[in-house]
């Protein structure tokens, strides 16, 4: 018995990591939803990255073949200006994924910074930060994003700022909660006794221990950020016209949906499949990392 526990202790780190990777891979493959999500998402990212190579046409090139139903030459049909819908949607993946990932990256860094600072220092710093976070928490992220666009104005960069700020509260709350539970651990006291600075304690000892729920939250947040961008673009508050984004293509299609169903169906299908596959991944990660702090809705 003693021998067994001893041998567990001397397992080399590299082997442990390899074993963990294998466990992850097994889990992902066994969980069919996660596998589907991973495949679809990889395809979308590759398609978006290599859009000019993958797309059959230039997304902005016009043709006399206007509002043409799906056919061999235009698999998803064409819009009112004769532009190929499939090509526009593939290019749209670029914008959607870029906005989704960049806004969550910004919100993650800002939110975690605020949350860790609030939880670690406590006192008036905590009060000021959390008063604001609680205020924002009372509203759904999408509404906050709309409010912020109302202030900043429309356009891609403003939309990115608005969505990033709108998602800060989710990360700040999780990070702060984790810090409060970790702060009193003995290894923090040990680090402090050894003379580690506040920054070092937060960076080296607290941050790594808050990772699991943050990863899960970030995954779900990417899907909500994509939905938020599509919603803002759809309402005319997002990127400039002529930029092919899923929300905007759908908004532009509205005048023609009575005679061209494909213009109303496919852009939304792209949004839904993307969001669904990210949510599948988030769900699998939540099971795998055993995270209970994160819910699967915004």
């Amino acid at each position: 018995m003693a021998q067994a526990s001893e041998s567990k202790m001397v397992v080399p780190v590299a082997l442990d990591a390899a074993r963990r990777r294998r466990r992850w891979a097994r889990h992902m493959i066994r969980d069919k939803k996660a596998l589907i999500g991973l495949i679809v998402l990889s395809a979308l990212i590759l398609g978006g990255l290599f859009a000019p190579l993958v797309a059959p046409y230039d997304p902005n090139i016009m043709d006399f073949d206007m509002i043409a139903a799906p056919s061999w030459s235009h698999p998803l049909g064409t819009d009112d200006l004769g532009r190929d819908l499939l090509s526009r949607l593939i290019h749209g993946a670029q914008v959607s994924l870029f906005v989704g990932i960049s806004t969550v990256a910004i919100a993650l860094v800002a939110g975690v910074g605020l949350g860790i600072a609030a939880g670690y220092f406590g006192g008036w710093i905590d009060t000021i930060i959390m008063r604001y976070i609680d205020l924002q928490w009372a509203f759904p992220n999408f509404i906050i994003a709309v409010y912020l666009v109302a202030v900043f104005g429309t356009g891609l960069s403003n939309v990115i700022v608005a969505i990033s700020l709108a998602f800060v509260d989710d990360f700040a709350r999780i990070a702060r909660g984790m810090v409060l539970s970790i702060r009193e651990e003995q290894y923090i006291a040990a680090a402090r006794t050894l003379g580690a600075s506040d920054f070092r304690i937060m960076w080296r000892h607290i941050l790594p221990n808050t990772m699991a729920p943050l990863i899960v939250q970030a995954t779900f947040s990417v899907s909500y950020a994509i939905l938020a961008e599509a919603g803002l673009s759809f309402l005319g508050l997002g990127v400039q016209a002529s930029t092919p984004t899923w929300g905007l293509i759908l908004a532009e299609s509205r005048s023609f949906i009575s005679r061209a169903w494909w213009l109303g169906v496919y852009p939304g299908l792209f949004i839904m499949v993307t969001v669904l596959s990210i949510n599948f991944l988030g769900d699998a990660l939540r099971d795998l990392l055993d995270v209970k702090e994160v819910q699967d809705h915004p």
Partner: protein
């Protein structure tokens, strides 16, 4: 409990004040002051000066702030600066019943779908029905509500001609005309909301079914049906009600978007049109009213929480 509610109400008023203040200062702090830009767009310096005076923009900010607050507390939200100068409070008062009709109908629809779906899915855990509900709920969560709205218009308005595609008819003009215009938007808003609630009910019901008191009740020989109705379901409702505040907020967010698809001039459409027209008094007014609805519904949920769970004591 009375004290608790009093404190929560006071808290809600403070939040309302914070929102109003943030909105006031943010709209004025933006570089290039949109309000001034709006005024100077007229091109006529004399007219611009007059408009500045009309809107009190020639006064120092703190005086504007005090005046704005006095007006808001009296229910005066200023006048629209886009097109005809309609009082914002009138625009908002016309929009309010439309948004509330939509929100309430969607809420009812969502509960009708979600409660049975969530319960069956929890009771028949890992059955085919449970997997079906889970997959449908996942799709409902991932489907943009504005897209669902468009699909419904394509199917039921453009192809089948069963229901009107856009617009709103006041209840005063008859129940059916009012209702028929709201059916499609209600489905569009209610479906994603139902997905969220169903998943909440499923997970909290599963927690309750595992609880000790359930085992005790079962070993006492209580009938399974009575066990579920009297013991499990009310306890499963507690966490559901807690998150209902968040869920109601999502419902309102859905309303804001879907109103724009169906051209229903509710608060969401007023807000979005205000932003697009750079009509700042309207934006400010719409934000205040939408925020008030959120804050009030959260307060309501808190009050409901104390009623539903007698174990909770507040002092």
């Amino acid at each position: 409990m009375g004290k608790f509610l009093l404190r929560r109400t006071f808290g809600a008023i403070v939040v309302m004040w914070a929102v109003a203040t943030l909105v006031f200062f943010m709209l004025r702090a933006v570089p290039g002051d949109p309000m001034l830009a709006m005024v100077f767009d007229t091109g006529d310096p004399a007219a611009a000066e007059e408009m500045r005076r009309d809107f009190g923009l020639d006064q120092p900010v703190y005086i504007q702030y005090v005046k704005y607050f006095v007006q808001v507390t009296r229910g005066n939200l200023g006048t629209s600066i886009y097109g005809s100068r309609v009082p914002v409070s009138r625009i908002v008062a016309e929009a309010f019943p439309r948004t509330m009709s939509l929100a309430l109908l969607s809420f009812v629809l969502a509960l009708i779908i979600a409660v049975p779906a969530g319960l069956i899915s929890a009771l028949k855990k890992h059955s085919a029905i449970d997997h079906g509900v889970t997959i449908v709920a996942f799709i409902g969560l991932s489907m943009p509500d504005f897209w669902l709205a468009i699909l419904l218009i394509i199917a039921f308005a453009a192809q089948l001609h069963w229901l009107p595609a856009v617009g709103y008819v006041p209840l005063a003009q008859g129940l059916w005309p009012w209702f028929s215009h709201l059916i499609l938007p209600t489905i569009a808003i209610g479906t994603p909301f139902a997905a969220i609630i169903a998943r909440m009910i499923r997970s909290s019901m599963l927690e309750v079914l595992k609880a000790d008191f359930m085992r005790v009740s079962r070993s006492k020989g209580l009938l399974e049906k009575r066990l579920l109705v009297v013991h499990a379901f009310p306890n499963a409702l507690i966490p559901v009600v807690t998150v209902m505040g968040i869920a109601l907020a999502l419902l309102m967010a859905g309303t804001v978007v879907v109103e724009n698809v169906f051209a229903i001039k509710g608060l969401g459409r007023v807000l979005i049109q205000g932003i697009l027209n750079r009509d700042y008094p309207v934006v400010q007014g719409a934000i205040l009213v939408v925020s008030a609805i959120f804050i009030f519904s959260n307060l309501l949920v808190d009050a409901l929480y104390t009623v539903i769970d007698p174990r909770i004591r507040y002092d």
